[in-house]
Subunit: 212 residues, 2 copies
């Protein structure tokens, strides 16, 4: 209640968004179970009971955090993998936008990744289904590329999952105070993914040192 905002108003809408934002930061730092309602309340500057005027339960806050951060990106970008139109260029573009988007939403993404099991079963399943459709779209798109002869990937499924691991992993190590902007890192990953990871003829067993 610092500023009921006649004009300017740094926080739009109010408490609910504030709680979501603060709780997501706390959950990302100390995990969902590691943060109590009292901790959230005191970080917001409010009594624990007051939170229940905005959310019906603690899990409801988690719902609001995870809600559609991931799904929104997927829904908005699946078209780039459409089997009928997918190209190396559209793949590169998707990788780039994926990396940038996931970094921009890194807090919610981290919570969504780590605390998926704490979500209500229905919503967790919904998120999982959404991710699965994204995965499948990648696999299918790579398969198209292989069939079309312009992607020499050896195993489309393994390649897709490796690619997704690679670009989802950026958030785990990237730091903004380093020498590279996230956009640069994103473009490097697009290059590594499409030209390198997927775009290499699979001359197998040339000199690979078989393990005993």
């Amino acid at each position: 209640m610092i500023d009921p905002e006649p004009a300017g108003a740094s926080e739009a809408g109010g408490r609910r968004e504030e709680i979501v934002e603060i709780a997501s930061r706390l959950f990302a730092e100390r995990s969902y179970r590691g943060v109590g309602m009292r901790a959230i309340a005191s970080a917001v500057g409010v009594q624990p009971a007051s939170i229940y005027h905005h959310f019906s339960s603690k899990a409801d806050i988690l719902d609001a955090i995870i809600a559609d951060v991931t799904e929104r990106f997927i829904a908005a970008h699946l078209y780039l993998l459409d089997p009928k139109f997918v190209t190396a260029s559209s793949m590169r573009q998707l990788v780039t936008e994926h990396v940038v988007y996931f970094w921009q939403h890194r807090i919610a993404e981290a919570v969504g990744l780590r605390e998926l099991k704490e979500l209500s079963v229905a919503r967790a399943e919904h998120v999982r289904r959404s991710r699965r459709s994204y995965q499948d779209a990648w696999i299918c798109a790579i398969q198209v590329g292989v069939s079309g002869g312009w992607l020499p990937a050896q195993n489309p499924r393994v390649a897709a999952l490796a690619l997704l691991s690679m670009i989802n992993g950026v958030n785990a190590w990237y730091r903004e105070d380093g020498p590279l902007s996230i956009a640069e890192v994103a473009e490097m990953h697009a290059e590594m993914a499409v030209t390198g990871l997927l775009g290499r003829p699979s001359k197998r067993h040339v000199d690979s040192p078989r393990r005993g």
Copy 2:
């Protein structure tokens, strides 16, 4: 070393190992904070108080789980990245063994990744330092390859971290009942990593669709 027992005796060595094994499974499934001492005790078939004869605290169990699963692998394999002797072959071998080892120890690895912050500060720092040395060894090795002309990676640091994300991500999607053995997946990743991801001349911006 599975069974030093003279006869019968279904459990080798004893309770301590049994508790570690059961607790790590529970922690991996429901998280460290999501599993109480009572749940561990009842899974072991013992009263909660009895666990304190084997461990001084709950965090002590976590210590025993994470202990040196990761570090043992790193310490045993760093030689493969020795700047003086590293080759594409040794890199391929390391990727393969990394994937297989991490899958075989997937439960402890999952707990170690997810619950690192729950560890005592000293031990957490030790684990982090160990991982960091592995990372740095990869970066350095790739740099050697680039200088030597046999690895055309664009940015050694980014490439190394992308590579590690890729191979660390396998555990998140691989399932044993699929069509591929973990060894096959491991070798595919070795191929993708060394031949594809790292081994591609960096013709940049050929036709990449710059984002607005």
